[in-house]
Symmetry: C3
Subunit: 335 residues, 3 copies
């Protein structure tokens, strides 16, 4: 994606730290998380619970806070590793300047056969659109999007740059795919933006309701699996990975980097923490809040979500609690 490069020494000078176990002239060309980083990657460690990952990482340079012992790993100690990582991302993965064409359909876009591009729809530079695609009025497809065949996007649907969509995908009105993920690094009393340089990938046969938002990955994709159906007003945060044939009902929110197996159902208004996994074929009842990993085939309810039957029992008990208190005080009311 990037054609930029920077040496380890240049990074050290940027943040005023000292390199350990890393040649000054090491060339770095990308930023990546600890587990996928390679010799050409800058990565970071800001939370001690990921130390084991850092020790196993193949990263060419790891940004850490002072005092962290990563043995022989190549490190640069900096005051705020996550913020420094964000700066490296901006340097190594700069966004291309948008190409303002002053035309509704950019001359470099490729449109398949039997498509209908409505009045007020726009298609950006180098976008590729398959056959028999319908873009309703006011649909906006940004630069470098790739759309399959037989898709229908309803009025006001917006695809930010580099969104990838499969075949037979329907996106309802005013939904937004690929807006920046919500990522900031706190530094000097302000929240500095962590560049969001990933994208959104939607597989075949997906349907997405109205006014739903699916953010681009910070790095790499946010992904919606084959045949998954998403209702209105849902929020899918950056780097979420949703399996195939899931049902995500209205007003549900899935926090960043959370993954769902296949055939998961999240009933309406569910919320999930970030960085957790919800196992295949699990069902989460409406209005529940899922705070940790969920084994395959679970049925959870409540805030915080736990096994449905347990939750039902504790709710029944809660309803009787006022009477229990009276009894404990000597009242004769039956429990």
């Amino acid at each position: 994606m990037s054609e930029m490069e920077v040496t380890a020494q240049e990074i050290a000078e940027l943040f005023g730290g000292a390199l350990k176990n890393c040649p000054q002239d090491r060339v770095l060309t990308e930023v990546l998380p600890l587990d996928t980083a390679r010799a050409s990657s800058v990565s970071f460690l800001s939370n001690a619970k990921y130390t084991a990952k850092a020790l196993e990482s193949a990263a060419g340079l790891i940004l850490t806070a002072g005092g962290t012992d990563l043995r022989a790993r190549p490190v640069l100690e900096v005051k705020d590793p996550y913020w420094a990582f964000a700066q490296c991302t901006a340097r190594l993965h700069p966004e291309p300047e948008p190409e303002f064409s002053f035309a509704a359909i950019h001359y470099t876009a490729k449109i398949g056969v039997d498509c209908h591009i409505s009045p007020g729809a726009t298609v950006g530079a180098r976008a590729i659109i398959g056959d028999r695609v319908v873009l309703h009025p006011g649909v906006h497809i940004a630069d470098d999007c790739v759309i399959g065949d037989d898709c229908e996007f309803f009025p006001g649907a917006v695809l930010y740059r580099r969104t990838r969509v499969g075949n037979r995908v329907r996106i309802h009105a005013n939904s937004v795919l690929g807006a920046d993920g919500y990522g900031y690094a706190f530094h000097d009393g302000r929240h500095d933006k962590v560049p969001q340089v990933g994208w959104v990938e939607v597989c075949d046969d997906v349907e997405i309701g109205a006014c739903t938002t699916i953010d681009r990955g910070a790095l790499g994709p946010t992904r919606i699996g084959t045949g998954t159906k998403i209702d209105n007003l849902c929020q899918i945060a950056h780097n979420v990975q949703i399996g195939s044939h899931c049902l995500i009902v209205s007003q549900t929110g899935i926090s960043g980097s959370t993954t769902l197996g296949d055939y998961v159902t999240l009933a309406g208004k569910v919320g999930t923490a970030g960085h957790i996994h919800i196992g295949a074929r699990s069902i989460i009842s409406g209005n529940s809040m899922v705070a940790k990993d969920v084994p395959e085939g679970s049925h959870l309810s409540g805030y915080l979500a736990r096994p449905h039957r347990e939750w039902m029992e504790s709710q029944a008990a809660l309803n009787r609690l006022p009477k229990i208190l009276k009894k404990l005080k000597g009242d004769k009311t039956d429990l």
Copy 2:
């Protein structure tokens, strides 16, 4: 609505089942729920708790699962009645091909006097718009919509085909009326779409906030009663029926086929189950989840919602629960 027809035998051949109590040449022209079905209707029974309804139904053909005893009713036994019903819907109620006019205002649309159609607004085929209507930039009115007098629709508001709106209705920016309801029938490992062939009907003097979604009915209308006011970011699912002069506050979600009497207040972030009734003049506190029918004039709170005073008592008791546990273990702490 439909001008299609199919015989009972053709349906039987489609799904490979055998007709009972039904002549092969019976002509069927529509799909309808059990309680409104007539001799020309296909209906279905997939949940045993509606068996009594099926026994009373006037439907010309009822799709059921094998082994259901509906006495003398005309039935076709199929593997998955709901999915088969969805297929019949697609056959008998096909969506018309959209008429792509390549014009912002279709030549068959009728616009009343003293209207203002802004730059970037579009009006579809056969749409009828009353007098003194203001369409702000980027408003999209699809085919066959009917709009009354003195309405104002703000930028980016979208009305899907066949939406009906009364007089003096205000719809704020980026709200969506008439997107497909969230209906799928599970079949052979995938969620097949249940055609959503109903519409949205909004009565006089309604105001709808920004980024709110009101889905079309699966069959028949989703309906918003006279004088009802809906805030931002609300979700009104397919076939919901809202009475007159209700208040639906921000981020509330009402599930499919639920009905509200007149003068109901749902404070912010309320969720409701589907297929329930909330009685007139009821008040549901903010953030509550309503799981079952609510009598007229109720005041409910909580998750799950119950009478406000009971809920307050149980919350107060819950806050003292840690101390109670200590006491039960022999601690001397006062309750």
Copy 3:
């Protein structure tokens, strides 16, 4: 803002009440809340708990319900003071007629240097746009908006009239700033609109996610402080005041007139009551509901939100409640 005026006697005749302590020919030119009202202002008292405020108010005329004793304050007794106040607002603060230009960019708008106005974007009358601003396709800027330098607004973002935006502000796709606040006065069996004549003010370095709604003030501004970052699908109601460098995570809703200090974090799906204050540097956990004022530096959780540790303890106790009940009935299960 207003150049209208009305005498106290004209107001009295409008609602059929009698003036007390107020000359008939007193000229009133504006409506204002009790605490900011001056000699030229109409204000109102409809809730007895604000009586002290009314006694100290400098308002030229206070609308009250019959039987309220405000000593020497100038009052007009009316049947429904809030509704009467709404009528006065409509009279003294009439909305200007929109200037329909039939052009995408109004000839009176001022656009800075090096701006990019995309196809399908519109800019209203007298709007002022700074330098190096990017308006993506389908962005709609209404009359009298003022935008600073170096802003980027993504497709379908809508700014209602008189919205004010600082420098380096990013607004993502399909978000809506300045729609009417949700204000109605119940009168004669219907909800009459309370005119929303305020505006939205967004300070420097703010980022706003996709499909988020920020309503205009009823009177005066709704305000988002410097450096605050708002995620997708959030609802910020009329007259909310958010401090600097706050984080408002996805699907959060803040009710009317609530204020946040600086560096407040509201995690995802938080709800707040209206008219409360959340102190600086407070953290509210995801899915919590805040019902009353929050001291500085608090960490609250739950529904209703209370100190995080207390809430954790009561949840742990709740999970054990079914066992406790059994024990109280003589069962030998350990607590």
